[in-house]
Every structure is written in C-alpha cells, then in structure tokens.
Amino acid sequence: MRHLLSAGDLSLGEVMEILDLAEEMSAVQDRPVKKLPALRGRTVVNLFFEDSTRTRSSFEIAGKWLSADVINVSAKGSSVSKGESLRDTVMTVAAMGVDALVIRHMASGAPWQVTGWVDAHVLNAGDGTHEHPTQALLDAFTMRRHFRALDGSDLRGRTVAIVGDITHSRVARSNVLLLQTLGAKVVLVAPPTLLPSGIDSWPVAVSHDLDAVLPAVDAVMMLRVQRERMSGGYFPTPREYTIGYGLTRNRLAALRKGVPICHPGPMNRGLEISAEAADAASSLVLSQVAAGVAVRMAVLYQLLGGADEMPLTRVREAVA
C-alpha cells in the first residue's frame, strides 16, 4: 500500500490486516509508556483545509505514539488564507522532506490530485463529499469488536443501517465500500432529497422509512446533518427531519436488544440523534473515538513501517 485514498481500494485481506493490527495497536493505550519506536525518524504532516477536532488530533496522537514527528498545518493561519493554491501549499510542505501527508480538503478528489505532485505517502482524511476511509475503518473496527464480544462473529452477513444525509456524506460513501468488502449488507435510510443521484448503482438497499428498517438491523449508523454543506431546501424544518429520520427515544426502544449505535461525530443532539440514544449503553460513539487512534496507527504503520518503495515520480524518471 502506497497511499490510502479510498476505502474501495482495499482488498478484504488488507482490511483484515489493518483491523487486526489496530487490535494490537489499541493495547498501547493501556501501557505505561504510550510509545512504539516503529516510525522513528519519519515525518507526518497533517494538512487540514477544513475544520476538524477528532480526525486531526487522532492522526496526531497516532503518529506520535509510533514515534513519528507530526506537524499540523491548517488553512487558517497559514499561507492558504493569503491565497496560495493547493498545489503550491503541498509542494512547499513536501519540499521540507516529509514522509506522509494527511490531507483534508473541501474538494472531492484533492488527495488523489496531490499524489501526482509529491513523493510522500498520501492519506485521505476526508475530501469534500467523496470519501473518508479511516473513518470507515474505525467504524468497522468498533462494530467488529462489538460483535466479537457479543457472540464471537464478525461483520459478515450483518445488516447495517446508515441513516441521514447520504448526499453530502463522505463517511457514508467510504462505509458502503468497506462494509461491502467485509460482506455486510447496507441499508441507506434518508429522505429522497438527501440521496445522491445514481444511488441505484450502489451495492445497497435504500429506504425512506426508518421505522420499518430499525427492527431488522444489526447496527445503526447515524450521520450528522451537515448544515455547512447545505444551501437549504433539503427538508422543511429541523423538527420535521427529526420526526422522520432522527433516532428518537421511541425509535431507540424499537431496536433489538444490544444493537449498537454509531455516529461519526460531531453530534447534533436533538436533531439526528436524541440524548437518550447518544448516551445509551449500546452507543459506541466514544469507542469509535478511541478506535480512531488505533486504526490510524495501523494505517500509518502499514504505509510507513517498511522500506520505501520507489515512488511513481521516480519510476517515471527512471523510465524516461
């Protein structure tokens, strides 16, 4: 693996390797010395063009626990606010000799574009409404752990409902791809206005009726209503959204016993998820955050832990 751009690029074997490795990495959290020497001397740059708390900080902790040097560059307070282009910013950072770039950008496909400009490993930490592969990996990690503790099984054959704003959700796209690889069934539940065009070609079932879906699912993933990406008109009022698609107290009771609830955060309590559901015993929200560090450690190790392969730009030079 040279870059991590899409959850769909990962084979089942690669996913299992990352999830199993993340299990080993998660043990570091309980150790007196939270440090492994594997990435000593490597430099990781977090390049964030959009706001983020958990993704950026968990990538930072993951890198530091593996002994890499981690530097944060955010659009605010950098030359980006002076009008520097993505390419110039990336080339400038890369020229300092970094080994990996973790990129979050509002444009779909930005990390893929960056791979053509630099030799560093590129990790997609969320690009526009496209993908967020490490989020899907940590969701899978958290759910797999839950099912293993429950009855020793994994995600194969499980039905996972993903509820909410599918159109604007990179989390949903990455999860659909990854859950398909893992052999789980996905049901997308959303009002027609929040389903992207071309949904027929996705390997999923689609429903507009949350109440009909809930009793049959093995896990529920609530998505955040992304008001910053909406220009209005997707649903009449927040209250009507909650009535139709929120995980309310009543809907919580409709779930089978022990069915886990996930949310990628940050939560809009009272909008897509009620406080009762967010704080329920079956809520995995905080486990997801803890898993984020372990999964990102696993991914960083897989990309940076071994000998450097010859980067594509050098191969091109060698051929020419």
Partner: protein, 222 residues
C-alpha cells in the same frame, strides 16, 4: 520471531537472482536433523528444571515467548514446570516487530501478538525463543520489555544457540549448543505450528551466498 542472517545493505538485481538460484539448490542439499521430538522434549524438561533451580522456585516467574515459535516453546516450558513444581507459571507472548533494527530494510512487516498474563513490574521475566543467533531479536525484546514496565530481572532461554553473536548478549538457559557456519541454516519446527517437531540444519552447496540479501524468506530459518 527468529533472526535473519546479517543483511548486506546493497541489493542489486543480479545479486537477487543469484540468491534465488542458490536458494533452490540449497533446499535440496544436505539437510540433517539434529534434534528429534524426543530430544526436544528432554531439553525442555531440563531447561524447566534449570529455570526453577536458578530462581529457587516458581515465585514471581513469568515466561514470555517471542512469536512465533518462542510462544509455543514458552508453553512447553510452562507445562514442564507444572509437572515439576505443580504450579502454573504465567505465560504470554512478546512481539518485537516494531522494535527491530532492520524494520526499514524490508517491506512492511506483519506485527505479531503481545499478551502479558499480568503486569511485569517486579516479575522475573524469562524470554523464550527458538534460536539464538545474532542477538538482535533479544536486543529488540529487551527494548520492548522496557516500554511495558520494569521487571526485577530478565532471563533468556533458547532451544538452540547457534553462535555468531553480533551483540553482547548470552542465554541463561540453552537446550542445545549447536556449532554452525554462518552460511548454514538452522530450522526449528514445532508440532503446534509445523505439524512436526524437530531441529534441522542445512548446508548450502557451492560458495557461501550473501546471507539473506533483501528477501525475508530466511526469517524462520537460521
């Protein structure tokens, strides 16, 4: 985790093909079994006695095997010690992959499982591995232990000591001292992993090859 032969940093295309060619020939050449299942079992029983004697009993002892075969050997030693002393020695595994000094010379390595049966603080930890060769694995294990706590003492038990140390490390308990040439390969196989229990040694034909250049196919062989 077994140790590879000392690696040469430069790998050219011709050297690689030469090595693989030799490897094919070597596989067919002069392999002899130096310990069979019976002898390995006797060696384990003797080491179990020695560990208990050196520790004056089972108090505070903990066995940590280095994956893969060190873990199974640790369990064999624990079983032998249970026969002698009638106590269960806490036994676990200590993966050293991320502490290796050649991590950056190979493609990304798979990480093994670390399991501590209890805290190692003030315990007498006996590291268990199948073959002691360069000593680099043990160096990595000592570093890994240091990040997990502060044992009162650390001992080293190996089934085979084949010499050729590259670091100032020695074993406290040895199943068999096996004089070897650096070009020879020592291979430990255990029922639990390999379906057969024996220690064998292979001698290559022709001039000694550059040891383990680039490839990790010698990882389980010595």
């Amino acid at each position: 985790m077994s140790e590879t032969a000392p690696t040469s940093p430069t790998v050219t295309t011709s050297a690689t093909s030469a090595t693989s060619a030799t490897a094919t020939t070597r596989a067919a050449i002069d392999t002899r079994v130096v310990m069979d299942a019976e002898q390995i079992s006797r060696a384990c029983a003797r080491m179990a006695h020695q560990i208990l004697e050196a520790n004056r009993g089972a108090a505070d002892l903990m066995l940590l095997g280095i994956p893969t075969r060190g873990v199974d050997l640790a369990h064999r030693l624990a079983a032998a010690m249970a026969d002698v002393e009638g106590v269960t020695i806490p036994t676990g595994s200590l993966d050293i992959t991320m502490y290796r000094d050649d991590l950056r010379r190979q493609p990304t390595r798979a990480v093994g499982h670390t399991h501590l049966p209890s805290g190692i603080e003030n315990a007498v930890v006996v590291l268990v591995d199948d073959v002691l060769y360069s000593g680099r694995t043990v160096r990595a294990a000592l570093d890994a232990l240091g990040d997990l706590g502060r044992p009162r003492a650390v001992r080293l038990a190996v089934l085979v000591d084949r010499g050729h140390r590259q670091l100032p490390i020695r074993a406290d308990h040895v199943g068999k001292n096996l004089p070897t040439a650096a070009s020879e390969r020592v291979r430990v196989r255990l029922e639990e992993v390999d379906g057969v229990t024996e220690v064998s040694i292979s001698r290559p034909a022709g001039p000694p090859p550059e040891p383990a250049s680039g490839a990790d196919d010698l990882a389980e062989e010595h």
